[in-house]
């Protein structure tokens, strides 16, 4: 046994190193958030919570938080719900199902950079696809700025992320629905339950785990959304589409205010820990039992 053990540890050296480096960096970042580090070299001069209080005084910071929350609500709910409804219809389609999931899932193979480039053009007020179609059917498009309009830019961006991620929630739900025992649904049919009732009273509650996984994964995605914002609007017009990851990048790598950047990333970390820790524990619990 001892022989196997020492080999096992040897095999694990890389991952143990990686875990060590990773958590070491996390602690480092945490420490840096309390220093006055500006410029290229770290200066370990501790300044307490002043980075955080400077951050909280920024109006821009609160606009970012609000945008992150908008993403959380207007991205997760439609994507999860839309995926569920599509999956339900697809699960009744038989063989055609295979063609359809491939159509809906393909945007997941794209980079956010590609999605952003493509949609930025579609939304372009003067020569974009959307305004051209609308103009073609006689709608006055001069006031429809889409991502150039600070009032609706965030929602436009969320729509393109929805386009990319719908397939993800679709295949997740599709797998869950197909995993349900068919007797369950047959029995309900025999009892005279309507299709609607079967959908919401039987199928939906019995795939709660899929909902948990789906919403958690989407929530993590929204918390670190960066590429799309960068490509489509650079946070603009003004700071109307900025989100925390974007602010973190600008403070750190453009303003060279590493202390504040680190403080922003710690705020993000707290947000994501609130989502990830319960989920990770749930997953780990399942594994240990299995």
């Amino acid at each position: 046994m001892k022989y196997y053990k020492s080999y096992g540890i040897a095999f694990l050296v890389p991952i143990l190193l990686i875990v060590g480096i990773f958590y070491g960096m996390l602690i480092w970042d945490f420490a840096a958030a309390f220093t006055s580090w500006q410029g290229l070299q770290p200066t370990w001069e501790f300044v307490g919570f002043s980075n955080f209080s400077r951050l909280f005084e920024l109006e821009r910071f609160w606009i970012n938080v609000r945008n992150n929350l908008l993403w959380l609500v207007f991205f997760i709910v439609p994507t999860a719900l839309g995926g569920f409804v599509l999956a339900y219809f697809l699960s009744n389609l038989g063989r055609a199902e295979n063609v359809f999931w491939k159509i809906f899932l393909f945007p997941m193979a794209l980079s956010f950079v590609v999605t952003g480039t493509l949609w930025a053009w579609m939304y372009d007020p003067s020569s974009g696809v959307i305004n051209t179609i609308l103009g073609g059917i006689g709608i006055n498009t001069s006031r429809l700025g889409w991502i150039a309009d600070p009032k609706i830019a965030v929602y436009c961006m969320i729509l393109s992320a929805f386009w990319q991620y719908l397939g993800f929630s679709l295949v997740l739900y599709l797998g869950a629905i197909k995993g349900l025992p068919s007797e369950m649904i047959e029995a309900a049919k025999v009892d005279g339950a309507s299709r609607f009732k079967i959908l919401f009273r039987i199928i939906f509650p019995n795939i709660a785990h899929a909902t948990l996984i789906c919403t958690t994964m989407l929530a993590i995605t929204t918390l670190k959304v960066f590429d799309l914002v960068w490509i489509m609007t650079r946070g603009g017009p003004g700071v109307s589409t900025e989100v925390l990851p974007y602010l973190m990048y600008r403070l750190t790598f453009e303003s060279r205010d590493f202390g504040m950047g680190a403080a922003t990333s710690i705020v993000m970390l707290i947000f994501s820990a609130a989502i990830v820790i319960p989920y990770s524990l749930w997953m780990l619990g399942k594994w240990v039992r299995a």
Partner: protein, 269 residues
């Protein structure tokens, strides 16, 4: 359903139709028409660049991405397989704790380690180089490859290993002669997943590769699309070039792609 699917594919149609047009043909009222005669001009400019228009081609960056993605994918998949083997078959005292740390680490936003990464890479002299990017993608990729392989190997019956042990098979021999030969489906899932996510990454490339000559293709596409004077047909051609490798993988190996995607989140079930 079909209506919805058509709506879904619309952006793609636009992408294809535009990139195959010459600039003269890209006009508003003809947006819907297929290109009159298929023109590869846009692709040529997007690929090779055009000095007179100030467009830098993507070809160099395409190669950079290949140099980056292939080693990073292979290294992280192999390490994942080795770790998965230990975690599934040779549990040790703190294995669950380490596993919990890995799962948690997988979901941490990049931004929380971005600053230390830059400093660490500068210290070890890999900042601003492709090996530096390979290193980061391995650090970020190994947790997920480990988890996927751990679950994959869990389905291998333990009796098989016990029998091999009685026959005198050592730790390495069991891995080489029993586990590796049955790992191909696992490798397919993991490698497609890693290839796609590393190819599509933007943030690490942006932060680590400041020099244009080593930038991966996603960063270069952003530069191309970011300049206002680049025509849409060229941007779309660039977007298509960038999307091509993962899309090809998806078209031919879609089922594995889907499994990889789900494994990342569904590892528990």
């Amino acid at each position: 359903m079909i209506f919805f699917a058509v709506f879904y594919l619309l952006p793609v149609y636009v992408l294809l139709a535009t990139s195959f047009k010459s600039f003269a043909e890209v006009s508003l009222k003809d947006m819907w028409k297929l290109p009159q005669d298929i023109s590869l001009d846009s692709f040529q400019i997007a690929w090779r660049g055009d000095a007179s228009k100030g467009v830098t081609g993507l070809s160099k960056n395409f190669i950079n991405s290949i140099y980056l993605v292939i080693p990073a994918t292979i290294i992280s998949s192999l390490l994942g397989s080795m770790n998965g083997y230990v975690f599934s078959k040779w549990k040790f005292r703190f294995s669950n704790l380490v596993l919990a740390l890995i799962i948690f680490g997988m979901f941490i936003p990049y931004q929380s380690v971005l600053i230390p990464i830059v400093v660490v890479l500068q210290k070890i002299g890999l900042y601003g180089s492709i090996p530096g990017l390979i290193f980061i993608h391995c650090v970020y990729g190994v947790p997920i490859t480990t988890l996927i392989f751990r679950n994959y190997y869990s389905t291998v019956p333990t009796e098989l290993l016990e029998a091999a042990k009685i026959d005198g098979g050592g730790f390495l021999r069991i891995y080489r002669d029993i586990m590796l030969p049955i790992s191909m489906p696992g490798f397919a899932v993991v490698m497609i997943w890693q290839f796609t996510s590393i190819w599509n990454d933007f943030l690490f490339g942006l932060v680590v590769a400041q020099k244009p000559s080593i930038q991966p293709i996603t960063v270069a596409l952003n530069n191309l699309a970011g300049s206002y004077f680049v025509e849409w047909n060229i941007q779309m051609a660039g977007a298509l070039i960038t999307a091509l490798p993962p899309l090809l993988l998806y078209i031919f190996l879609g089922r594995y792609f889907m499994r990889g995607l789900l494994a990342g989140s569904l590892s528990g079930t």
